[in-house]
């Protein structure tokens, strides 16, 4: 089976809260000192899902597309080092300032440009904006069936069987190919590239594609084509002041806490 995975490079979501800073005027997150950006964790799991499909089917390909600035190349290289075949970087100043819609539009054009594969896989959401819409928008634009927030993906002959995480359990869903899937963290850990694979991936060519290559006018993408407008970006503040319950023994601390909760009328 042929699979395409769309990935994104983002500021490390495990950045400690103390190191996380926002430039409110520019409405941008400032790069944290000494913490490198990473492939969005759900996207690494999406690549893992794709590689397992390829392994199970015995042939086919796993190709990677990423839209973004120069740093997007690193997400592609990471995916190649995990074992993906080819990488495509949608890179154009015209893409700047876009939203989920313009991103999905460009990705769908790139997918058509490369040929719609059997399966298209995305992470359930990019761990920067946490919207979780790009996979579904692409599915709609390409008129493909979709299943989102998945913890397991299996091939059964020509069709795909998945397990979707829902509030009160899991749903089993069967999809024909071609289809769109989005992967959730319950899928499990992605493989970690070995040094040799990282070196091989470093030598691999990544094909760059511009808006014009995809038949898109600059007015359709980036800030010009965006449907969602951002008005502010800021860090929330917490106004609680913690009271540490002291005591010489665990019993004293426990009793102190229960008392404090009663006095505050929480119990």
């Amino acid at each position: 089976m042929d699979v395409i995975v769309c990935v994104k490079q983002i500021p490390d979501p495990e950045t400690p809260a103390a190191a996380f800073k926002v430039d409110e005027a520019a409405m941008q997150v400032l790069p944290a000192q000494g913490i490198s950006p990473v492939i969005s964790p759900f996207d690494a799991q999406a690549v893992e899902a794709a590689l397992r499909i390829k392994d199970a089917s015995g042939d086919g390909s796993v190709n990677i597309i990423s839209l973004g600035p120069d740093s997007a190349r690193d997400a592609i290289k990471h995916s190649l080092a995990m074992g993906a075949d080819e990488g495509y970087h949608l890179k154009d100043d015209a893409f700047d300032g876009g939203d989920a819609w313009t991103t999905a539009l460009a990705l769908s054009k790139a997918i058509q440009h490369l040929g719609v594969p059997d399966v298209l896989i995305f992470g359930r959401q990019a761990a920067d904006w946490d919207q979780g819409t790009v996979g579904s928008i692409v599915a709609e634009l390409l008129d493909l069936p979709s299943a989102t927030v998945l913890r397991a993906v299996e091939m059964t002959g020509d069709s795909i069987t998945v397990s979707r995480v829902v509030a009160d359990g899991f749903e089993n869903i069967e999809l024909p190919t071609p289809c769109v899937l989005t992967i959730s963290n319950e899928f499990g850990d992605p493989r970690y590239p070995q040094l040799r694979q990282i070196m091989q991936a470093a030598r691999k060519q990544v094909t760059e594609l511009t808006a014009a290559d995809l038949g898109l006018d600059a007015s359709e993408v980036g800030a010009a084509g965006a449907r969602v407008q951002m008005h502010a970006l800021f860090q929330p503040t917490s106004d609680v002041e913690v009271e540490i319950i002291e005591g010489d023994t665990p019993e004293e601390k426990a009793a102190g806490l229960v008392n404090a909760l009663r006095e505050a009328k929480i119990l």
Binding site: P11, P13, T15, A17, A18, F20, V29, D99, A100, Q125, D130, Q131, G132, T133, S136, I137, A139, E140, P145, S146, A147, T148, V149, T161, V166, A167, D168, G169, F170, E171, N172, I173, C179, N185, R227, V228, Q229, M230, H231, Q235, P236, S238, V240, V242, E243, I244, I245, T249, P250, E251, K253, A254, L257, V258, A260, L261, R262, A264, I266, L267
Partner: protein, 324 residues
Amino acid sequence: MASILVFGETDDAGLTAPTLEMLGAASRLSGDLGGGVALALIGSGLADAAAVAGPAGADTVYTADADSVAAYQTDSYLPVAQGIVEQDSPAVVLMSQSSMGRDLAPRLATRLGTAAIMDSLGLEVEGDRVKATRSCYGGNARQVVTVQTDPQVVTVRPKSQDPLEADASRSADVIAVDVAEPTLRARTTGKEQAESEGIRLEDAEIVVSGGRGLGGPEAFADLESLAGVLTAAVGSSRAACDLGWYPPSQQVGLTGTVVSPTLYVAIAISGASQHMAGCGGSKNIVAINKDPDAPIFAFSRFGIVDDYKKVLPALESAFAEALD
């Protein structure tokens, strides 16, 4: 035509709590937008739920009542939802950030030629736009956004909005919508229900949650015992779920359940932003952590710095005594 069309969801009790909350928000916002509030229900056996829609704030209820749409499936709900939006032509479409809303909102928005804002926490009207405040960067930041195209599709985080006081004197016009036999491409073939003992996480007034610092799955039995004393639900951090110590259905956080109980007791949880995204709305957080510098204390009203193993038995007896 309504100014706001809410896609509701139903359960055994009628309209779900997030649906009532969205109707509350819609009533508040519709005044500024000029127009009424409509509720759309897709499912089977909707009469009882439709009957409480008026008292909860809806002026109109669209019911798409058929066995073929008894449970949510992307392919069966999408055309029905599209039909209702086209019939009503609202300015704003609200959906819950639920399993349905996450899946349906972006596809529906795209089909309607517009866009969706997901998981909003705050909603205000400015001119003819709904300004949504939402969490991003794993809870480290908030952004304020508007959809510039129409209709404006927005999903709403459960517990972020207040429902109205039910007003029995109000009633809503019910409009039955035809449901054509759906063409299913993706097909739900079965469901595994999470074994749910006790109180549902999202309904609980008190939640006791455990994290990686518990050191193993056995400790969750002790948390359950404490929860029994407090009539609480038990939650967990993703780290504990990923390690297989507790089922994913009990995960609290950005990618798990969002809870906002009166009391949230975080035991051996560090307080990562993605975890706080799921419990930061709690009215009171109590943390038990052996590390005095754990970030969780910055969000907590009360804290105990100690090994949970020592504190937990004492805490259970102290609570048992106090609540006796």
